[in-house]
Symmetry: C2
Subunit: 412 residues, 2 copies
């Protein structure tokens, strides 16, 4: 059973907004066993919407539409849907009640614009929007199901999870497909591909492999298709067992695991704490760690020491070390790791110092030169990396590399 | 002159990778005056690629293809292109020279896999890839131009900027379209829409308005179409002048301005410095500020004080204030702002303390309760916000709100 997504919005076509809705929906549907075969991103124009609907209905049985249901005047999806389904807008009191309650809760007065949002196409089933004023719209026509959702991510997400996927699963029992993604850190794509080449060549015919590189990580996705899920899962587990022996230490997790969450869970389980002393990463490691709910259980804090002055005054880095070796050096990054340990009294610490670029490079220390140190309860390790020449990627790579170094120490 | 994008990759359809390439390309082409009318995201399957090419060629004159040109075995774009154009792969020595040089520069040995990358379809013009091994491929067929690019973002970006757009502009002189995006902070979408309703109603017919909300920001995009660019630009400037009077203080910038970059430039121009003391934002404000190259000119550092202990020991927050008022309170956030000022000796400071959620809320202080303080050379201001109930959004909204508070102080 395949589905297509139609993402409506001029903002997506002029590059102002990245289509994260489509990728989120794709992930949820795949996990539910419904394959997304195509994403069509089109403009806020009635004629485009009408032709995209028609084309998609010739290829897929489920059509998921996002965008264009808001109260503002650039939204024309509802009008296009009425025309496509040959129906008209009617006032729906249950939708209006939901809008009124929402406004009451937020302490706002309800406006005329919002009353218009309670109008829905007569032939649809409205879907409750818990977080917002625009309801979802569910249509069926010639054996094809169409679901129109708001473009606001958290409104759309709640609808998909709580209503749309459960309803679709009642109607269809999809064929088996199992995806498993192996997350790696520490080898660039081409070296990784070389190392696992013979493993890849020997994969069974029903298993497909894809490489997904991003700064500091390469993800390997295995997709197995067949009749029975447990069988496919067993097949995949076998392949991963073989792979683990070929690249030990490189695999840090699976699927949606996030390295900073894995590290956090390890710390929590062992009742340990961490803090960071960041120069080139500028607080990004602290941000990643604290983006996880409950991170206060193991994260005490961070000192972002961007200037040398602060490295000395807040982290106790020796003036002489800065003079003799420079801020991007092994002695300084080690002193940073020990300095934050003294200040925050945590079991582990991470310290980073590097030249993120684009400026600041020298012949001895070109842009990308980065030192990372990890202090553990018993020792301090440090390592130098050449990250490359792109600021944003350097920051991300450094963060991922540092977190994986910490993970390995926690595992040891 | 309109173009379509075909994004190839299973990873995009199972939601593992967000299609940032398509939005970046869209932005570049729009800025060059070539409208992207549709983005087609499809699977790594030959049959899908062939039909997407055919369909797009019936609607557009320029077709931009990304993905599937890498050395790994999941890539089949090149084979599909050969079939579509009725041509075959030939070894191209100029491409091989480029690959050899690239490997030499990185100190790697060239492999067999890489030699295959020097094979290109006979009927295409290969496009040099400065940053990677897979060349771009330029085809022309029945007055339609097809350009196939690698999916690796920085390889693709260099090709688009340095070769593809300049070549296309030589061939076409597109009709005038001017986009201008107004960036606002401080009013939620519905209140903003209400305030500017009559301005919106009075916009000239050739100007379209769209609302683009994201956590902490609402962007208003004006798109004017017509014959002459200078005329359209004048029209838009007039409309913005009117709008500024309706929502003073709310507009912080235009187009790709980033609030943290604007604030950084204001600091640099006035030769002033800033530091942050972050609790609920966990280093995110420091990360935003340091994501800008050259931020060390005005940013000294940050203390992320996630635990109360660190708020006391590193920021000098009074134990009694934490006991009497709690960490999320006006006295504490003010003490944090003053504490970081003492430690870092900067002209301005930002402090945040809030309950990001999902846990930690109480009846008095529900999830989303957030205090922000800004210390200036002469005073300290503080304000309470109710951010909502979503952790990630709360962190982002708090960061944007704090940066806008600082911007207003710098402007005053």
């Amino acid at each position: 059973m395949t589905a297509e997504i139609i993402s409506i919005g001029d903002e997506l076509l002029i590059g102002q907004v990245v289509n994260t809705n489509a990728s989120w929906i794709s992930e949820q549907f795949n996990n539910a066993g419904i394959k997304i075969s195509r994403i069509n991103t089109i403009a806020d124009e009635k004629i485009q919407i009408l032709s995209a609907l028609k084309e998609a209905s010739e290829r897929a049985y489920i059509i998921l539409i996002t965008g264009g249901l808001g109260p503002t005047k650039d939204d024309i999806t509802k009008a296009a849907l009425c025309e496509y389904f040959g129906t008209k807008l009617i006032f729906e009191s249950s939708v209006y009640e939901n809008i009124k309650n929402l406004f009451k809760k937020r302490g706002f007065k309800i406006g005329e614009l919002n009353k218009k949002q309670a109008e829905v196409p007569e032939s649809c089933i409205p879907i409750e929007n818990i977080h917002g004023t625009a309801p979802g719209l569910w249509f069926e026509k010639e054996k094809v199901i169409y679901v129109s959702m708001p473009g606001v991510p958290y409104e759309m997400k709640q609808m998909v999870k709580d209503y749309i996927i459960p309803e679709l699963l009642k109607l269809f029992s999809p064929g088996a497909i199992v995806h498993k993604t192996i997350l790696t850190q520490g080898l660039p794509e081409s070296l990784l591909a070389k190392k696992i080449e013979s493993w890849e060549d020997n994969l069974p015919g029903n298993i497909k492999l894809a490489y997904l590189p991003s700064p500091g990580t390469v993800r390997l996705r295995l997709s197995a298709t067949g009749r029975k899920e447990p069988e496919l899962e067993r097949q995949i587990i076998n392949e991963i067992t073989t792979l683990k022996k070929i690249i030990p230490g490189i695999i840090f997790g699976y699927d949606n695991d996030r390295l900073y969450e894995i590290v956090g869970n390890m710390l929590r389980e062992k009742n340990l704490t961490v803090s960071t002393a960041e120069s080139c990463t500028g607080g990004y490691i602290a941000h990643l760690i604290t983006s996880v709910a409950g991170s206060s259980d193991y994260f005490k804090g961070s000192v972002v020491a961007y200037s040398n002055e602060i490295k000395e005054s807040l982290l106790g880095v020796q003036h002489q070390s800065l003079i003799n070796f420079g801020a991007v050096s092994e002695p300084v990054v080690k002193e940073m790791a020990m300095g934050i340990k003294n200040k925050m009294r945590t079991d582990y610490t991470i310290a980073t110092s590097g030249i993120a670029g684009p400026g600041g490079g020298t012949e001895d220390k070109p842009v990308g030169t980065t030192w990372i140190a990890i202090a553990t309860p018993t020792k301090i390790i440090s390592k130098k990396f050449m990250m490359g020449d792109h600021r944003e990627r350097n920051i991300k790579k450094t963060a991922m590399t540092a977190l994986n170094m910490l993970r390995k120490e926690l595992q040891a």
